[in-house]
Structure formats: C-alpha cells, structure tokens
Symmetry: C2
Subunit: 152 residues, 2 copies
DNA sequence: GTTTCGTGGTTGCATTGTAAAACCAGTTTC
DNA sequence: GAAACTGGTTTTACAATGCAACCACGAAAC
C-alpha cells in the first residue's frame, strides 16, 4: 500500500494504529495471544493462515513492539511469542470488535463464543466510550480537534 | 484471502468483525464518516486512496450495512454515504484504536489530533473494559468460553 | 442550448501482497 | 542414530492494490 507511508506518520492516531494492526491477521494473532497461545505452531493451527504469512506477521508484530520473542516456557530450545504491555493495551480494541461482531454479525439462531469475566463467570458488559461523569459519548457529541497545520 | 471464507462464518465474533472491517481503509472511511464526511470526493481527498479502491470499499461497506446510500443533503442530484446504526456502533472500536495509537505510536515531541467531548470541551477519558461493578477487565482476568463444538 | 467544468465513478495495466505447497535446518523422541 | 516434530524460507500462482486514463452525468457558464 503506497498510502501506508502517509499513514505511518499521520497526525491521526487512528490512522497510525491501523497502519500497525490494520490487517485481519495481526489482530487475530493478538486475540489468540490473549487466549494463551504463544508458539508458532499454535497460531498456525488456530488461524489456518499460511506459514509464510504468519512468519511475516509475527516479525512485523515483534518489530512493532506488540509481541516479543522469548525462550519457550516449557524448557525446550524453541522460542515463543509473548505479548508486551503495548500488545496487552490492544485489549479494548479486540473487545470492541468482539462486541460489535456479537451484536451485528450473528443471526438469531447462531451461537458464538463468549468473553467471560473469570471473577463472576458471566459475560462481560458492553464497553462504551463515556465522559468522566458517565455520560455516553458518541460520534454525535464528540468531535476531532485537528492539529493547526495538519489533516484529520 | 482464502481464509476469509472461514472467517466470515467463524464462531468467534472477533474473526467475523475483522472479516467485515479488517482492512485499513474501511475503518478510516468510518472514522471520516464520524467526522461528518459523506461524499465520494470528501473521502477521496481526505484519505488519499485510489478512486477504484474507494469505490470498492464504499460498496462493500454498503453491502455490509455499515453505510447507506442516500440523496445528497445539499439538494444536488448527487448521492452521499451515511452511517447506519451498525456503522455508528463501530465507534468504540475506532475510539479504542485512537487511544491505543495516542499512547503507543507517538514520540514525546509529536502532536496528534484529539477526540473532544463537546459538552466539556476536553479530551475524552480512556475507555477500558470493565465489569458491572467497575473492576477493570484484562486478558488476565477474562477468558473465552468457546462453543462446545467449535474453535476459538 | 451548447460548450465547459465538477462529480462520481469504471477500465486497463503494472506492481505488490497473499496463498499453497515444497523444501530444509535444528530439536526432540525413540 | 533414525524418525518425527518445530519453525521457519523459498518458489510459484493468484488475488488485491495503486495509478492513470477514460467516461457518463449533472451543474454552471455564456
């Protein structure tokens, strides 16, 4: 993508974020990492992705500081990929995608997996942007304040 | 993407969501729509995307029910693209991406645009997944309950 | 009312990214 | 030490992207 070059240095954080994780596989890898997966083979089996593509994505995520390589925790000589703090911080994005998908992408009959709060054993409540006083924030009552010089 | 076929009918809502909006351009279009942009030319100028790609993405977003075509609100005979409820509901995802980008993708020196709460005129607070009692939820204290038959 | 321009696309072609399968080196198992 | 497993890379085919040119239609100029 030629426009990617612009994206990477955009004044809009949404654009930069999408440059980093704006392809389908990256966030699915991160999702699997939340689920405890760490090894190349685990991601491979779970995602059904081609090996070379997975290889490239993992390298990109490591370069981006979202994952880090480490010695395998099972004592073998192999490596594994672990989430960094930066990767952990993507949790709200994945939760947002999940909740949107749950609401809009399943038929009445269809079932889907659920994200469970381990403390209560119940599905987690809907996450919504809110002001400090609790008022819900929407596109209608927010606006983007652009940089004086720049674009969106 | 061959795996896209699997994604579209995956039991994981994250996978389905990424099948729908898991490319960089779609969410940037939605972001611009939140910012009030509606016309083909507005998206074109704002994004720096190729015309044919924009055309295809807009069609895909309309088919997905995220945007809808309508007569232009300025009285001309041209059309415009408006967000549906489904599109509005992507707001938490875009906010999540924005806040992650703000935190991790800018140097100390660098400035970025801000999302402002119009009521207070101040930047909106960080959005985080939380239990009903307010406890913060993270990958560490949640887990995915998979379908009995299916995968992640 | 017919040139002229702006809008909203489509088409064709070159470049790039993705997918699948084969291959391969190092590791573990037996 | 042979066989199988892990974690890749390479090769080749195909699909998506990007760019530029083109075109139909509505609007504006005259």
């Amino acid at each position: 993508m030629a426009a990617r070059e612009q994206l990477k240095h955009a004044p809009c954080p949404v654009a930069r974020a999408l440059d980093a994780v704006g392809d389908a596989w990256s966030l699915l890898i991160v999702r699997d990492a939340y689920d405890g997966k760490r090894r190349f083979g685990e991601f491979l089996d779970s995602l059904g992705i081609a090996r070379n593509i997975l290889s490239g994505r993992l390298r990109k995520l490591v370069e981006a500081g979202i994952l880090e390589e480490a010695a395998a925790s099972d004592g073998s000589a192999y490596g594994e990929y672990r989430l960094t703090r930066k990767g952990m911080d993507l949790f709200p994005v994945v939760v947002g995608l999940r909740q949107w998908g749950e609401k809009h992408l399943y038929g009445r009959q269809e079932r889907h997996s659920l994200l469970i709060d381990e403390a209560s054993g119940k599905p987690i409540p809907r996450m919504r942007p809110a002001a400090a006083d609790g008022r819900p924030l929407t596109p209608a009552n927010t606006r983007v304040r652009k940089l004086p010089d720049g674009r969106a």
